[in-house]
Amino acid sequence: MNLLEVKNLDIDYVTKEGNLKVVRDVSFTLKQGESVGLVGESGCGKTTLAKTIMRLLPDNGVISGGEINYKGENIVTKNKEEIRKLRLNEIAMISQSAMNSLNPVYTVGEQIIEGIRSHTNMSKKEAIKRAEEVFAIIGLEKKRLKSYPHQMSGGMKQRAIIAMALSLNPSLIIADEPTTALDVVVQDKILSQITEIQKQTKSSMIFITHDISIISELCETIIVMYGGKIMEKSSSKVFFKAPYHPYSLGLQNAFPSILDIDKGDLISIPGAPPNLMGELKGCRFKERCPFRTDKCMEELPELKEIGEDHQIACHYPERVDEFREESKKKETWQMVSDRIINESKGDA
């Protein structure tokens, strides 16, 4: 059985100016022990998607369609108390901003014990023992439990957050850019620790990042999101050998792995994620795609199977070789940049 099934999920943010269609028609599944990587720029809907799985959307966030089935039960229709019991106990989150995710006026230990005790009948002593255990797993001294957040370094706080997420052996861990705020050395250490632990505990993981190179080591499946939609979904092995979607190609060239850094120039995809307000026509990536055609401007590409466990949302899977070649060149993306400037002039 699948641990998690997301089916045709739509999420909106209700604002005074209208509805923001932050996530549209997203589907994927996750088996016990498996992990999936969600990749995309900020504002592409990946964090919203993750929060929705824990039902942590802000007040103006609405699930406007679809299902999220966790262990066969639809999370979307559960009431507050049922959701509360699920959090940390079943689904735990390692948040984006570990720096600010700990309450400054309580010690780290107090905060971990609080989480443990709100889901179990453990006595304070037992909870402290459990906290010490998870601290040991993550490589923090147990005396650190008595520290206040401001007395710890960024790396330590991040570890403490990971320890908290592990404290009740959850089946699913959602890691939302868990290392962005840290320096590179600490990043690597923590990432390898996360992989290690995930393998040991056999929990599933959703790993969110904008850095595509991290996924290859961590996750079996990769989902590339853009403008609230899935652009490409594939097993990591296949994806890193041969990505299809022009957006994936852009991302790949923007974050080369250390091995092929000398192969070509680093590029960046010009422009910004699309405005998701109002009526959306055509492909979400059309403004920034170097290969767009008239069809892309009018018609939204469906997610279609192009290989085993490999789906993309592009009208032109057959032109992939040409795309791969072109997307390595700086000029290709320069052209997009010029086009964006021209179009904005046209508007004004």
Binding site: R87, S95, Q96, L102, V105, G115, S118, H150
Partner: protein, 323 residues
């Protein structure tokens, strides 16, 4: 921590001396007979002469100041013209009444204000929020003494729920603290003035708590607390309110100055025998030593409470280091 407190107490004592100095020179800078501010004009000439020498009034201003400071250090604030007793004795008799009224008012205001403000932020956009803001706004814009007068008309004169004035039913005299304050009669007299005081204080904690809560609620650690699967009440009071409380404490300390001023007005309206009413009467009776002494003590009280608020803040916020 002890060092920190010691240092703060030192600064406070210096401040008290500075404020006293200011008030000393303010009185002496006035035209007319300088002795009139220290020695009762209605005294017999021989007795006057003794006191003039005692306070150095025949000497220079500097000599007088030295005597004044020496006396101040010994808690000697001179003699009241009206009562003919030491000022310090009169004031220490009045302080408990003022403090009890003020603290009861503050407990009412901060109790309701902190919880109400937290709730208002939590239920944003709810009717409760706008109602709370409107009430706070009205009582902030209404002069305390007027609210006091109106409440007497309504609750004492028309409804006859509470006595209208004083601390005790007339005819009753108590000697010890227990006799005066520890009984039902006193409590009955305390309710109306302390509720009015509470209404006067309430805008500050209520509005600041609400704003501060709104800010705190958008913090990452609140989302984390939700992600941990804590119950709403626990998130609201243990995580959000605890942090939102910090600015309320700071604002409360700064508010003390006007709170003491408010006491002066309230005590006058309710004929509450405290320090505030005493200072008004002293000035009206041209009893300068008493007015001067009452002022010095009121400033000192304010500074002491300020210090208490600062220490409380340091206890509440572990990030504060006691430099």
């Amino acid at each position: 921590m002890l060092n920190y407190i010691a240092r703060r107490v030192g600064i406070m004592l210096l401040m008290i001396i500075l404020v006293s100095t200011m008030i000393f020179f303010l009185f002496r800078a006035m035209p007319g007979d300088p002795t009139a501010f220290v020695v009762d004009p209605s005294m017999a000439p021989e007795a006057r002469q003794v006191l003039i020498e005692r306070y150095g009034l025949d000497g220079s201003l500097w000599d007088q100041y030295k005597v004044f400071i020496k006396d101040l250090v010994k808690f000697d604030l001179g003699n009241s013209f009206f009562y003919g007793r030491p000022v310090m004795k009169i004031i220490t008799d009045r302080i408990p009444a003022t403090l009890i009224l003020m603290l009861t008012g503050m407990i009412i205001a901060y109790g309701i204000g902190v919880f109400g403000g937290a709730l208002m932020a939590w239920k944003r956009g709810h009717k409760l929020e706008s109602a709370g803001i409107t009430i706070a706004l009205i009582f902030r814009s209404a002069p305390t003494f007027w609210v006091a007068l109106m409440s007497i008309i309504l609750f004492s004169v028309n409804l006859k729920w509470f006595p209208a004035q004083g601390m005790r039913t007339s005819g009753y005299t108590g000697e010890t603290f227990k006799e005066i304050f520890m009984n039902l009669d006193f409590l009955k007299h305390l309710i109306l003035p302390s509720v009015v005081a509470g209404l006067y204080f309430i805008a500050t904690p209520l509005l600041i708590m609400r704003n501060s809560m709104l800010e705190v609620l958008s913090e990452d650690y609140i989302e984390m607390a939700r992600a941990k699967g804590l119950r709403e009440n626990r998130i609201l009071y243990k995580h959000a309110a605890r942090n939102a409380l910090l600015p309320v404490v700071t604002a409360g300390a700064l508010f003390l100055g006007s709170a003491i001023g408010g006491m002066v007005l309230l005590e006058t309206v309710f004929s509450w025998p405290g320090l505030g009413r005493e200072i008004v009467q002293a000035v009206t009776r041209h009893d300068y030593p008493l007015a001067q002494g009452a002022f010095i003590i009121m400033s000192s009280l304010m500074m002491i409470m300020n210090l208490v608020a600062d220490i409380l803040y340091a206890v509440l916020d572990p990030r504060i280091s006691y430099r």
